[in-house]
């Protein structure tokens, strides 16, 4: 199942090389819809109890280097997998309607990017994760560089160099983690489930944490390392922008929850305040820039920085509520950003510009488009009743539980969001229609892509519990590493001081019990259960 979800996009792209150029777009759409269908089936049949991994795939891959092909899905990743498939389906369908140049290469690159992204969400082997994380950049480089607009070559090289600085350091960090814990784990292994049981010494954790944080913060992007974002957003073709802004930034946030906190718990506590301040700075700076810029893409780029700042805050509140809110908010933000980019494309088509000073009055002749846009805008500013509101509420609750001062300042971010979101809506939809602009209603072709995405926002607003109930246990499980001696190494029952756990988190049961629930020990042969002589 997971292997199929992982492999279908790139396989579809490869087969596309054999097809006539005319139909390759529709073939890719078919493939994207198939992978979406699989993802829906995965979510429908998902059992979230205990937050353990499901549908585990574990194959030997590079035994000499300790790398295994391990896939698995839990409450953290299951909705991100669905989200990835959904946005890719939208992007591929949109592209197929536009008929790009050199379609075989284009759709292959999209497929490769999807496989790499899904690989990040599914990987349970640290090296497989890093590999997929780096691999995402290759198709992105081509998509921006070959099909982008404006100063695209400079923008794409800037983006790649920026993001690779982090990712390659992360590669060293990942290898160091595996090699340095080899004595404890009994042989080099990159398996996340094993590595989190054997935390490294504090000092080692600190520098490896810095490498990982560099990779994820650049990707997110967070303030200070966001230099590539604006150029990339300006040059990126719009369907790809949906993916860049919607999904790829979430990989970074997910990486913090999946890898950094469980595997480097001491460093996460040590650097908690630094990361919270970076998140806070991202919110303030992103919001401030978003309501001074006039280009629509710039506005969305900076608002994304602000939104990702919220997610960072939620994660590094190191509390159950904050984590839950971040997982929900990741999905929310992606669902909001994707239709906004499509609407930007529609507006640019109708007015010939992406500058809000030259726009206006679009609502007059296009009420349906305006209605869809207002739904998206309301979601972006997290109006009560939207899923975004729930997400931000959870995040702020988590931060209030740990750092009150930061939570107070961060709350202002919600007000800022209302300001820039409404400004964007008003300047494009209200006011008189400028000369030369053409206020047309949504066509059927455009509606086919846009309406389902907006429907998802509405559906999630009605029932945000869909995600939080399933994510909860897995978030708790990730944060359980922060408890003192969470696993009771060597088979001893966990000796836990309640006060040492993050708010709302219970320590995990002793390893034997985990193994009994179908944990990783049974199939890695590593881990304390195996070390203690418990038959796997």
């Amino acid at each position: 199942m997971l292997v199929a979800i992982f492999a279908i996009p790139v396989a579809v792209g490869l087969i596309g090389f054999l097809l006539p150029a005319r139909i390759v777009g529709w073939w890719a759409t078919l493939g994207a819809l198939a992978s979406l269908a699989l993802a829906v089936v995965l979510v429908a049949g998902f059992d979230a109890t205990g937050g353990v991994l499901r549908d585990v795939v574990d194959e030997s891959w590079i035994p000499q280097l300790g790398v295994r092909f391990q896939l698995g899905v839990d409450g953290l990743s299951v909705f991100l997998v669905l989200l990835t498939s959904l946005l890719w389906a939208a992007a591929v369908l949109w592209s197929a309607l536009q008929a790009p140049d050199r379609p075989r290469n284009y759709f292959f690159m999209l497929g490769l990017a999807q496989t790499a992204t899904l690989g990040c969400f599914l990987a349970q082997d640290l090296l497989l994760f890093v590999l997929c994380f780096d691999l995402m950049l290759v198709p992105l480089y081509f998509l921006v560089g070959a099909w982008g607009t404006g100063d695209r070559i400079r923008a794409t090289i800037k983006m790649i160099v920026y993001t690779l600085v982090g990712s390659l350091l992360m590669l060293v960090g990942a290898i160091a983690t595996a090699v340095l814990s080899a004595d404890a784990t009994g042989g080099i292994t990159f398996s996340l489930e094993v590595l989190r049981r054997f935390p490294l010494a504090d000092g080692t954790q600190y520098w490896i944490f810095c490498f990982f944080a560099a990779a994820f913060l650049v990707k997110m992007p967070a303030v200070v390392v966001h230099g590539w974002v604006v150029d990339a957003y300006r040059s990126c073709p719009l369907p790809v922008l949906i993916l860049l802004g919607g999904v790829l930034s979430k990989v970074a946030a997910y990486g913090f929850l999946r890898i950094v906190i469980p595997v480097f718990p001491d460093a996460s506590i040590h650097f908690q305040e630094l990361l919270l301040i970076i998140g806070l700075a991202s919110i303030l700076y992103g919001s401030a820039m978003a309501f001074t810029r006039t280009g629509l893409r710039d506005i969305v780029a900076f608002s994304s920085i602000a939104q990702m700042g919220f997610i960072t805050l939620g994660i590094f509140s190191l509390s159950g509520a904050g984590g839950d809110g971040s997982v929900l908010q990741m999905v929310n933000h992606a669902l909001v950003v994707a239709p906004i980019f499509l609407i930007i494309a529609l507006l640019a088509e109708r007015t010939g510009t992406e500058d809000i000073r030259a726009m206006g009055g679009m609502a007059k002749r296009a009420p349906v488009l305006a209605a869809l846009f207002i739904v998206v805008t309301m979601a972006l500013l997290a109006i009560p009743g939207s899923a975004n509101f729930v997400g931000e509420l959870f995040i702020l609750k988590g931060v209030f539980e740990t750092k009150v001062a930061i939570a107070l300042i961060a709350s202002s971010g919600i007000a800022f969001a209302a300001f820039y979101a409404l400004r964007m809506y008003q300047r494009t939809m209200h006011n008189p229609l400028p000369e030369g602009a053409d206020s047309r209603e949504l066509t059927l072709r455009e509606g086919v892509v846009l309406v389902p995405l907006v429907a998802c926002i509405v559906a999630l607003a009605l029932y945000p519990g869909l995600i939080t109930t399933r994510g909860q246990d897995s978030v708790d499980r990730s944060l359980a590493s922060l408890c003192e001696d969470p696993y009771g190494i060597a088979g001893e029952p966990a000796a836990v001081v309640e006060a040492d756990c993050p708010p709302g988190i219970e320590p995990e049961p002793a390893p034997e019990a985990v193994a009994g629930r179908g944990g990783f020990d049974a199939w890695t042969g590593y881990g304390p259960a195996a070390a203690a002589g418990v038959a796997p």
Partner: protein, 520 residues
């Protein structure tokens, strides 16, 4: 104890096959007319195939000391031998339409090529100061000639002369260093005897240390480690492209083999002294090579500098002195061979098809009309940069894992910092392929290249009297070349996804060296 030299013909058989092949190819080249390139190439390939087959057979045999201990056939020598032979086999089809081979004569070119291969095989097997030096010269001298074999092109002659001078200085330094080591270790020439002679007492003896430094410098010239790399871009640019490809890959492989064998077995007692020094050299090399490549417009110069940087990565594997480090080094060499052969072959093809020589303009816009070449060069560039999905990524992963395990984590960081810098110039090439339009000037296609080939602005003799049109270097598409390019590219990707066979292959090298160190 008196040793009678027992001759192990089995272990010597690859060498014997090569020597026989050299004689046959030379004779065929003498009796035939100039145009007999097909026969000479076929015989060369047959020789290489025979050598490869015998090497593979030897891989399963136990390690053996040959020729009274002057040579040693073990996992290291055989894996390196196979890499060298494969590189030569990929060069032969490239030579088919090469103007340099056309001018110098196919028989002679191929004889020299095989001679150099023989030198490399012997160098990888050498475990004695004498055979070490003799093999190094046997490797180098044919290459000096081959670099200058495009006689009508002044750059080629310049390259040959430059290589000769620099190479001789390197050899002389090495020889001088060997003399110090011979003296310092109490008159030993065998590698194991040197190790015993140095022992724990003489490990930081000035005489020995001077010897080590000089030998390291001599070898650094050969594998182009900074600051002894200055000749590399010039020679690479001037030499005929197939020869550049061979030099870049095979020389490096053979020289690294003996570098590893000599330093780890003979100079093992002084490891604490040379390890930090080589680590510093590796770090400097990585930075210098990658920064040097940044502004290059000539693809061959670019790959020359990139080769310097790669030598820095490889040196990391060597200086660790661990089995894992050697495995990683040999894996990296094998991957580097595949990647570089594909890249140089694409450059050679474009040199013949366009008037731009090896300038980056020659590959601009080929994504549109030459997808096979474009994808091959793209994958090569991404693999050299170490992006995932290619053997280059696994190579770096292997090296970094070995470096961290060998307590040289900081060198691992240097490797990735180098990779980051390198992306700027590798991606520039990829951008030229896919994102820039083809140059205005129509490419000179089949047949027309005699007028247009060669760098613009350089005087070039156009055609010789009496040369038939069919004998002229043709820009026509050669399926054999394309096949070689695609095979190398496919292998690059395949070993990037399923690297285990290549890792198992390179593991022979570490075993071989470990067995030489033996129980003692």
């Amino acid at each position: 104890m008196i040793e009678t030299p027992a001759i192990d013909y089995g272990a010597l058989s690859p060498i014997i096959a090569l020597v026989a092949g050299i004689c046959v190819v030379l004779l065929v080249g003498l009796i035939g007319p100039r145009g007999r390139r097909g026969l000479s190439s076929a015989l060369t390939l047959a020789t290489l195939a025979a050598a490869a087959g015998l090497l593979v057979w030897q891989l399963g045999e136990p390690d053996a000391d040959l020729v009274a201990g002057a040579l040693r056939s073990d996992g290291l020598s055989i894996t390196i031998g196979l890499i060298v032979v494969a590189a030569a086999a990929l060069v032969v089809p490239l030579q088919l339409r090469d103007p340099a081979a056309e001018e110098a004569g196919f028989g002679e070119t191929h004889t020299l090529l095989l001679g150099s291969v023989l030198g490399m095989l012997l160098l990888a097997e050498a475990q004695n100061l004498i055979s070490f030096f003799v093999a190094l010269e046997l490797l180098s001298i044919p290459l000096y000639v081959l670099c200058g074999s495009h006689r009508s092109r002044s750059r080629s002659l310049e390259s040959g002369l430059k290589y000769l001078i620099v190479g001789s200085i390197g050899s002389a330094t090495l020889l001088y260093g060997s003399a110090f080591i011979y003296g310092g270790s109490g008159g030993a020439t065998d590698f194991t005897a040197i190790a015993q002679g140095i022992g724990a007492d003489l490990a930081d003896d000035p005489l020995v240390l001077i010897g080590i430094a000089l030998v390291a410098v001599g070898l650094a010239f050969k594998v182009s480690i900074a600051p002894f790399h200055q000749w590399t871009p010039d020679v690479y640019e001037g030499a005929p492209t197939p020869i550049t490809a061979f030099m870049a890959v095979a020389t490096k492989a053979a020289a690294f083999a003996v570098f590893a064998r000599f330093f780890i077995t003979a100079l093992g007692p002084s490891a604490d002294q040379w390890q930090p020094a080589l680590a510093a050299l590796a770090a400097v090399t990585i930075v210098v090579g990658n920064v040097g490549a940044l502004g290059q417009d000539s693809l061959k110069r670019l790959l020359g500098y990139s080769g310097v940087a790669q030598a820095g990565y490889m040196l990391t594997g060597l200086l660790l002195g661990t089995v894992k480090g050697i495995d990683a080094l040999v894996f990296y060499l094998a991957a580097y061979m595949l990647i570089n052969m594909a890249a140089f072959a694409v450059i050679a093809v474009r040199e013949r098809e366009t008037a731009y020589g090896d300038d980056i303009t020659a590959v601009q816009g080929i994504g549109k009309d030459r997808p096979a070449l474009a994808w091959s060069l793209t994958i090569s560039m991404l693999a050299l940069a170490g992006l995932p999905g290619t053997a280059g990524f696994i190579g770096k992963l292997f090296l970094i894992e070995a470096a961290v395990a060998g307590n040289y984590t900081w060198l691992g960081v240097f490797i990735v910092v180098g990779s980051m810098i390198s992306l700027v110039y590798y991606l520039r090439v990829v951008a030229a392929i896919w994102m820039r339009p083809a140059p205005r000037l129509a490419p000179a296609m089949a047949g027309a290249s005699t007028e247009a080939a060669g760098e613009p602005g350089l005087p070039r003799r156009t055609g010789e009297p009496g040369r038939t049109p069919s004998g002229a270097p043709s820009g026509g598409r050669c399926w054999l070349v394309l096949g070689a390019i695609l095979a190398a590219t496919a292998a690059t990707v395949a070993f990037g996804i399923v690297p285990s066979p290549l890792i198992d292959f390179s593991a022979h090298a570490g075993e071989g060296l470990a067995s030489m160190l033996g129980p003692g």
